[in-house]
Symmetry: C2
Subunit: 386 residues, 2 copies
């Protein structure tokens, strides 16, 4: 390592430390930052200057007489420039959102589309339109997109979607078909991260994404558990009944066949979630029974998940969020009947306030968290583009 | 923090670094250790001297002309003094083993006892006899026991066994009933660690402990996954059939009721694993069918576990190790039928070479790994006792 390279890598690390402290402690003066980080005031001032120029930090104008140094102009994290794009393709909708550096949600677009009927190239071209609309609107607000992540309900590896059975996708290389640079990740994983960063769940939970498919993301100690190859959390294919109906995955009696959106609607002869909610509010027995059965199956699959993964709490998201008042009791009953004999506590069952917004928010949040941890990459790219 | 305290904590950290490098690189000279660690030769020599005096390190006599410094007397990790005691209480046996600092297995005792018939205090008194016998024998060999861990087939929190349903234990405080200081941990977790440190599995696997109960331990990137409260891995209570036979845990149709040792023996009217193995070798249809059914149920539960936890490989241990030739195919078939449609690879299914020895070995190994990471505690305790 040459002296210059070593110096650059130290500067990169220190910039991340300074930005992290501004995020945690802001508004905070340069003098206080020097004291907290152990860096010289000159170094801190230079770095704060660079961060202000990059629009990541702003002077808050406030003076501070705090314990940590003399009064001075304080700085805070700024959301006025750097932002990230979160995207989602799900079976019956497309979403895009823009989140700024302070994790404030700046834009949110969602569009109902039946993506099962379309080839991947068509769905991706629809998505590109939505994404460009979001990026254009963000630019008009003075935001620069530092990166974007796409959430897909399937097994993902790099830019390749191995399989997304409910979309009918197999070996789709998204990076080749989309005209903007994106990372691709599993929808249920990103929804769990969305819940962690934008929701109200504590740092230990299993977030359940109920859509046409059912995925789950386990967060332990504030970190997403991904398994050996990043394929963990496929709750929808946990076996509820070994001789049950055949599933699109090739198995039988998977949870999805009992509690997935299609199974649920099919059981009461309805075609959409809004109609189902209406029927439930009207107390229609067919709809109530369908929720009872779906909740019971979900409780059985969650029992297996609790025995295997020991989550802190269970957060129901996706369409399970609006359905929560009707599925809560059957889920709880199925879990309690099977768990209380062995465990002295059954995990709490709560509802996500984000619903189906969790995945695109987590997708954008993942980019923002990376920028916060390593701001130099964004600073340098700005310099190159300038 | 006073200057003296800071100095002590630095010395503690550096001792761990030096011991770690001796373990990884030994035989290695003091000069090479100074170069690797960046510590002064005087500091390294003093620390190596302390470690030799504590019996943790020995001069290997070998001279080294390696790239890392001039020739000198090399040192290696030594197994002649420091050791750990691993203990296990399972439903039909008790075990004890002694492992030295080099992770060599020095003693291994096992005793068939039906612990269901006895109150916890009696079982623990039996265990204490076995443990004292092992400690006495270890002392005769010049070994000093640095600590001990007890493996129990149940849900454990500190020294308290919340419940071990197959032992009939509920809220048993082991620390109050055993006359030697032990840590208590879950049998399946310790068996997975035993497989990691003493077996042939790579760093990413799900180890299945087939005993009267069935537990599992997931290792990802060389680290045991414990869940939010340390209760993860209860594979035996994954639901195989929601309306199946009642289980001791309060649930229904748990894997244990199909593939636990009792269920397996009951299905072919035999009373012990040796008889079962004899019948299988003789090709008796009843025994073969019982294994087929058990393997099939195990494959269904593992399908759910793979979807949720995404393990690298599956290692079958405990009594599943000797039964492997007869359960391998039904397990593989059940997994392949359900997994291949969705995943491009199904995890490999392998067999543990350790069988039921994995848990006590992991129990002792856990103590040794702690001593290696923080040798100062063992050095200090020696000093206090002297």
């Amino acid at each position: 390592m040459t002296q210059a390279v070593r110096h650059d890598s130290m500067r990169a690390r220190n910039l991340g430390v300074v930005l992290g402290e501004i995020r945690r402690n802001g508004p905070v003066t340069r003098a206080a930052l020097a004291e907290i980080t152990g860096l010289t005031k000159t170094t801190v001032s230079k770095m704060v200057g660079d961060l202000i120029e990059a629009g990541m930090v702003a002077e808050s104008g406030a003076l501070r007489d705090g314990e940590r140094g003399r009064p001075g102009t304080a700085v805070v994290l700024s959301g006025r420039r750097v932002a990230a794009l979160g995207l989602e393709i799900n079976v019956d909708y497309l979403s895009a959102c823009v989140v700024d550096l302070t994790l404030a949600v700046r834009l949110r677009y969602s569009q109902a589309v039946d993506n099962r009927a379309a080839p991947p190239v068509e769905t991706l071209s629809h998505l590109a339109e939505l994404a460009h609309r979001a990026v254009d609107e963000a630019r008009r607000e003075g935001l620069a997109i530092a990166g974007s992540t796409l959430a897909v309900p399937g097994l993902v590896d790099g830019g390749l979607v191995h399989t997304a059975p409910n979309l009918g996708w197999h070996h789709v290389r998204v990076s080749d078909l989309l005209d903007l640079p994106v990372e691709v990740d599993n929808e249920a994983n990103l929804a769990a991260l969305g819940e962690l960063w934008f929701g109200s769940a504590p740092g230990d939970f299993l977030h359940v994404s109920g859509e046409i498919g059912i995925g789950a993301g386990l967060v332990v100690g504030g970190t997403l558990f991904r398994g050996a190859r990043g394929l963990a959390g496929e709750l929808g294919h946990v076996v509820v009944h070994p001789d049950g109906p055949a599933c699109r995955c090739g198995g039988r009696g998977c949870l999805e066949r009992y509690a997935g959106q299609e199974a649920l609607l099919g059981a009461c002869g309805l075609t959409g979630v809004p109609e189902l909610l209406e029927s439930l509010r009207a107390g229609e027995p067919g709809a109530l029974e369908a929720c009872e059965r779906a909740g019971s199956a979900l409780g059985i699959a969650l029992t297996s998940a609790i025995h295997l993964m020991d989550p802190g709490t269970i957060v129901l998201g996706g369409v399970f969020a609006p359905l929560f008042p009707w599925i809560r009791d059957p889920v709880r009953q199925a879990m309690a009947a099977r768990l209380t004999g062995m465990r002295h506590t059954v995990p709490d069952l709560t509802v996500s306030r984000l619903g189906s917004d969790a995945a695109p928010l987590g997708a954008a949040g993942q980019i923002i968290h990376r920028v916060l941890a390593n701001p130099i990459a964004t600073l340098t790219r700005r310099g190159e583009n300038a």
